[in-house]
Symmetry: C2
Subunit: 772 residues, 2 copies
Amino acid sequence: MKNYLRHDEWSIIEEGFHPEHNRISESVFSIGNGRMGQRANFEEGYGGETLQGSYVAGIYYPDKTRVGWWKNGYPEYFAKVLNAPNWIGLKIDIDGERLDLATCEVSHFRRVLNMKEGILERSFQARLKSGKEVKVHATRFCSIADDEAGAIRYSITLLNTSGVLSITSFIDADVVNQDSNWEERFWREVEAKTKKNQGYVTAETKKTAFQVCTGMKFTIFQNGAETDFTPFHTHRDKYVECSIDLPTKKGVETVVYKYAAVVSSLNHPVDQLMDHCKEVVKNSAKKGFEQMRLEQAAAWARKWEEADIRVDGDVAAQQGIRFNIFQLYQTYTGEDERLNIGPKGFTGEKYGGSTYWDTEAYCIPFYMATADQHVARQLLVYRHKQLQKAIENAEKLGFTGGAALYPMVTMNGEECHNEWEITFEEIHRNGAIAYAIYDYVRYTGDHGYLAEYGLDVLIAISRFWAQRVHFSERKQQYVMHGVTGPNEYENNVNNNWYTNYIAVWCLKYTLESIDFVQQQSAKRWKEIKAATRFDEKTESTKWQDIIKKMHLPQDKALGIYVQHEGFLDKDLLTVADLRPEDRPLNQKWSWDRILRSVFIKQADVLQGLYLFEDQFNEATLRRNFDFYEPRTVHESSLSPCVHAILAAKLGKKEKAYEMYLRTARLDLDDYNNDTEDGCHITSMAGTWMAFVKGFGGQRVYNDMLHFSPYIPENWKGYSFKIRFRGMFIEVVVSQDVVQIINRSKQSAALKVYGKKYTLKAEATLKVAHATR
Amino acid sequence: MKNYLRHDEWSIIEEGFHPEHNRISESVFSIGNGRMGQRANFEEGYGGETLQGSYVAGIYYPDKTRVGWWKNGYPEYFAKVLNAPNWIGLKIDIDGERLDLATCEVSHFRRVLNMKEGILERSFQARLKSGKEVKVHATRFCSIADDEAGAIRYSITLLNTSGVLSITSFIDADVVNQDSNWEERFWREVEAKTKKNQGYVTAETKKTAFQVCTGMKFTIFQNGAETDFTPFHTHRDKYVECSIDLPTKKGVETVVYKYAAVVSSLNHPVDQLMDHCKEVVKNSAKKGFEQMRLEQAAAWARKWEEADIRVDGDVAAQQGIRFNIFQLYQTYTGEDERLNIGPKGFTGEKYGGSTYWDTEAYCIPFYMATADQHVARQLLVYRHKQLQKAIENAEKLGFTGGAALYPMVTMNGEECHNEWEITFEEIHRNGAIAYAIYDYVRYTGDHGYLAEYGLDVLIAISRFWAQRVHFSERKQQYVMHGVTGPNEYENNVNNNWYTNYIAVWCLKYTLESIDFVQQQSAKRWKEIKAATRFDEKTESTKWQDIIKKMHLPQDKALGIYVQHEGFLDKDLLTVADLRPEDRPLNQKWSWDRILRSVFIKQADVLQGLYLFEDQFNEATLRRNFDFYEPRTVHESSLSPCVHAILAAKLGKKEKAYEMYLRTARLDLDDYNNDTEDGCHITSMAGTWMAFVKGFGGQRVYNDMLHFSPYIPENWKGYSFKIRFRGMFIEVVVSQDVVQIINRSKQSAALKVYGKKYTLKAEATLKVAHATR
């Protein structure tokens, strides 16, 4: 755990340069606009510890890692999030001496991520080896007003000397992925041009043949006046630069404005890419930095208006939740149906691929409640469109008859993960995809979705489960062998309770949905039935039998569900038994030791109790929580939020607060010692849930929105906003009272602490705190 | 299963060219001499399906395959068996047209591996695209008389034309491994020379810096007379060649003799490598091909004298067993204590590394019985020397206090395998290493080995087991979680019966051995105790407790030991339920499907019953055999031999014969559809065991050799020879009688069918067949 960033309500602030944490800062201060994004690398380059990273949504590379021990059924490749051409680069030389913070004395360093406006700023003074001193202030953003544009304002002042300031502005497509084997390059140049103060490179990805044109134009002001210059151009493979030497007086501020554009073949015909890139650059330069910045601030203001969560009296908690919301909207805006939410967003290259079950289990609830309904729907349709690939994926593993196994990780619907214990065995993801349909329909009331898109996905998933189980003669029950549950610190186990439970639930929900669609429209059902070749007699009967006879391991004496068979034979230590030097286990222990231990990476039985809480009584939840929580190390970012919500429900306020802070500040405080690889974007939606469902007690039952808020003791107050079926509700909680404000122009019926209220448009309801 | 090779008692014969099986033939016809070896690639090159492979014992490359999902505790690298410089190469052009069987009409093709003399021959006629016809006869061997030398006689006759015959003889170190990533080259050139009809390349392996000098000299005869020529030299990176154009008359035989040498820095100082290589080449050329060939035949005659097994009346069985013995002695001769027996020998590059548990469980019994006692001892000492590395390996996984985990695969004692379910979990290998010590002492009576080398290995292995188990409060027994047994079609299981059993056995045997050494020499025990810091009180007590309370899963109703917990919950199909198109499972089914199925890759419970057969009654063996055998697919080459021995013991003669043929002809008939990657060398020792222990009923109990032979119905007779404590015994069995011939110069006491006999030197004992 680190603690070097200043707590602030609206900004992330690094005061004083921390080169030892630079890769962490690069992740945390990342900026993006849903279309593109980048780590907070220094414009002028950096010779120290750094991970250079720019990313363009939807652009990936299918990397075939040939390992000696290929398993049958493995995908052909592993999709890599591609490090994309870098447009931020400036080289700054003073009398031929390169500015590089790795070789300077640095003072007055300050890096600020202004989340309110979506701006990254950095200022410092540097004393070069020659003794020359320089002051820099850099400001940069990826525009959400025009998501193909970015801009930099880079100000340099020579403090104790006059001299020749050389400024080189470049576009570099000759970039490499850190995780590439043998330094392999994934881009090749298509075209490159320089002209005056402009430079453009169109590069194409190998194999996938995506084209991206990255361009820039820059202007320079001295003493507030634009300088006229004729730069010197250099062009290497996949790289262009414009250089200029400026005799500069001591104390005079030189300001470089760099306007950049990133346009890709996902959105434009390849033959128009460069022209379009020039157009974007031209428009930006015409508009000017300050105007672009105003538009950026205005666009973010609109987002915050809808999605902000406020905490009074706890700056760390306030900063944490805003950071999570900010990063989520930097990563995915819901504008493009082809995109999804990568686990690292635009903050790092780890975990290739863009789509995990994180989307369904964590992100959809967030986007349902903070964005227009079509955004969540779009995320569901994304999977619907990939159904055929999921069926092919299951066929590769030997399943038949239209059974679907959705991939663990994907870019285009094809599986691109290759660890057998995950790829083939962490199949509960299929359940999460079905659950998201249920959750969406429950939340939005959009029952039409089932007939339109949902049912064929549900049928295909249920078919998978029906083949994946087998009947144990010995147990006289259906069992499911060889799975990996959400707790990835157990592999290839039998009868993981969560997986078995969600499988049975899928079968039930699919049968219910078939009934529902049938009743709504016999015609539509007939179509679906024909298209899916669903055999009502044999398939329904088999499913009913499995529902009736599935083995769901439990321990009567302890009154708990057993994570999987054999779990209770372990040495039943608790996290309190671990030494600090053992943590995090995944960095300190060998894999076999982790597997044999009792320690749980992330909510597993508790994940099921969270998703299906209305199917269990509180005593059951409590017994399971009390057994599993003390054995959970939360080394997955997806874990603490679930525990926070359950703890809140069980009235374990301290635990809920602890878990909330852990999820909210996971990256800010580098809890799991891995933020340097990038931020945990998808789990940030979990943070939002921990807040709204945990503290706010928000639920939907029977088409009605419920709240039962409570407030942590050390907070003065908090508020959050949510959308629900056309309503827009703000919940404002102080230590004294709970206010529900109907911010929509329609009346709103909802329940607070179980009691029903109807609020007129714009009305505020005040209720006293109550237990749930 | 293929069936294109002719059955013959002493040779492997391919009649007619089978390009579709060429990679299989290249494996089967491989030649080697313990120091170097090679696949049966064509001298003149081949444009069709081929895997070019030459290998030098002990020369490896540590290949770090960076995969995204590295596990803690993984080794730094995976040792690759390196494809070494190729010395067989000749390019043959007729009037500028290249001879390549891939582009010719081929007739009269015949490839023969003469196992009696250790010679590879190939003859054919080829009609080139131009219509020109040529006849070739190639003869080649790796000399076991001088294990740094090899020789080729290559005869060419133009059949229907006169023309210019261009002959290019080359040494090529610019070779690549098939399994290398990105076509990476592992060799770099140190030095290369050509002079007249000679060429030499010294190449060094990257990282490991082994140097190998490969050289050649060639002479050419036409019409029986040596031709004088001045070749044209070409030298590229890591490659030299000598070319010559010979105007050649129709019908005239041109014979190329190529003398080659391979010398390595394992055996010579690097600064003398090339000189020594020249020396070897010079001596060979001086000696001449025919003389070298005579020496080769004589050396092989001596080997056969000691190790041959004869079968009368079953050519397929005869060919099979000789092929196995031949390949074993081509791979490992026992001359060099630094070497071991790679699973593919010199026949392919698959399964990097040289030493698996195969050595202890399969090869040591073979070498104990067919070679001088020091050979088996040397194989044990090999592990003794690597004890410190095994301790470090265990430390990497979190074990302490001198516990050792021997690697799954190694070249130098370091683990170099990286599949977690094997590397970390297939720990029964530790048991096999302890068992080999027991087996060696039992066989040889060399009890001194324990005090000298054995005991510290046993203590370190027992320490590992004592830490690897834990006490289950629920079971009130010790359990061992997270293991992979010999049946690798189950991963990460709990309480694998075999592993638990051999662990307990190790603890018992170590305690007995401590007692034994203590009684023999209190002083020596004191030394060992001090060196190992053995704590008699706590360690012995703990071990005794584990011995008493280990969980050994069994099923009372079925009367069997249970392979591992949960096994009986599977769908208990048998192999008879499989469709032919499902086989082999490991090529047809996805990995998860294999894991979930009941099917057993190789003897697992039965492996334990085989090793410890004297600890179980026959009824127990039978029940377990009858349960597990029908569920075993034998997709490991190590499996059928164990089943053959048990079947023989249980009087299941048909099954024993079936299993014997399967192990003996595994590669000849390509049973598992993988011979193209190389032959299954280590399992060939299992074939020998299946014969001698299965049909011959050979055992050692209480320092005495036992036989209880029976003869398969369709055989006329068989014989085998074994060494035992200075004795040299031949067992000759016909349908009528069993003869035991004492071929040593000392009297021999032994038991036949349980009855003790003492044979004078050179005496023959005749006994009637009996049941065991």
